[in-house]
């Protein structure tokens, strides 16, 4: 995606993310239903969706607190799940230009889906595409949370609709073209093996960050 026609690239990113933004909205709604049950005021739940903007981490923090876990345990579980945003942010860094504040805030639009949609086959982020995709997903997440808070009861369960399968299917579609190069296949195989091997023994989030670090280590040696 070139930056020659910036508004087009923003639109293209938003269009590519639109179907998954709908799925994200349903998950946002279920977060909006779940959070008050865990002692979150509607304002706290909405502010969390608007500022943290990371689904799995928000669900983790809320469910640890709901089960009577400590604040430290809730924050640790959430941040461990988000540790992958360290390397993801690093991979986006070369593409994000402008002053420090602008770069920092643009990076907040990074979630797995917007990053994967904005990264071309070379793994390099197209910033305008990130803006479109991240913006669409952000709207879906925050609006979905608000809808769930307003409804107060699950309109539809994401699992009953099979929507939990939508995310791996999206990632698989974005992964497929990366498997054409031998280096891409090696990195993907290593990532899958590390992720699966650590899942039964490591806390949630650790297998993913280990897969990222494993890929760095492998590429540095080759």
């Amino acid at each position: 995606m070139s930056d020659a026609d910036p508004s087009d690239a923003v639109l293209a990113g938003a269009r590519a993310a639109a179907p998954i933004a709908l799925v994200v909205a349903v998950f946002g709604a279920s977060f909006g239903v779940l959070a008050p049950a865990a002692g979150f005021s509607p304002a706290a739940a909405l502010v969390m969706s608007a500022t943290t903007f990371a689904g799995s981490a928000q669900f983790a923090a809320v469910s640890v607190l709901a089960e009577g876990g400590s604040l430290a345990a809730a924050v640790a579980a959430a941040l461990l799940l988000n540790a992958r945003y360290g390397p993801i942010g690093l991979s986006a860094a070369p593409a994000l230009r402008g002053g420090p504040a602008r770069r920092f805030f643009a990076a907040q639009l990074l979630v797995d889906e917007s990053w994967a949609i904005a990264a071309g086959p070379s793994g390099r982020i197209a910033p305008r595409r990130l803006l479109g995709a991240g913006g669409a997903l952000y709207l879906g997440w925050v609006a979905g949370t608000a809808a769930g808070l307003a409804a107060g009861t699950a309109v539809a369960s994401p699992a009953a609709l099979g929507l939990d399968a939508a995310f791996p299917a999206l990632f698989l579609g974005l992964l497929a073209p990366l498997l054409r190069s031998p280096a891409g296949r090696r990195a993907a195989a290593a990532g899958a093996v590390i992720g699966l091997a650590l899942t039964p023994v490591a806390p949630p989030g650790v297998p993913i960050i280990a897969a990222a670090l494993g890929a760095f280590a492998g590429a540095a040696r080759s």
């Binding site: 179907p19 005021s41 706290a44 969390m48 990371a54 981490a57 809730a74 924050v75 959430a78 941040l79 988000n82 945003y85 390397p87 993801i88 942010g89 690093l90 991979s91 986006a92 860094a93 070369p94 994000l96 230009r97 402008g98 420090p100 770069r103 920092f104 990076a107 907040q108 990264a119 070379s122 793994g123 699992a159 099979g162 929507l163 939990d164 399968a165 939508a166 995310f167 791996p168 299917a169 999206l170 990632f171 698989l172 579609g173 992964l175 990366l178 280096a183 990195a187 993907a188 290593a190 899958a192 590390i194 992720g195 699966l196 899942t199 039964p200 990222a212 890929a215 492998g218 590429a219």
Partner: protein, 102 residues
Amino acid sequence: MSAAWAAVVLVGLGTAALKGAGPLFFGGRTPGERLNRLLEALAPALLAALVATSTAADGGRLALDARSAGVAAAALLLAFRAPAIAAIAAAAAVAALVRAAA
């Protein structure tokens, strides 16, 4: 401050820092050849790890379930060069059907 609000603030600040650190400290610089190779390896590794763990794991254990069936359907469609949106819709439909049948 309630535990909920404290979690909102701490998780929010921590996540913003994690997302923003790379672009804040290394933003806008053209990476060298070596760093480029590292970054190019990240996308396939991370995507494959996300696919694998969200397909074949349920919480902390490895398991094949309705979601795995949905992702398998998506993989089949993608192998036949179906558009991504069709693969995503098929994954959700198959997962929902298998779950309803179980």
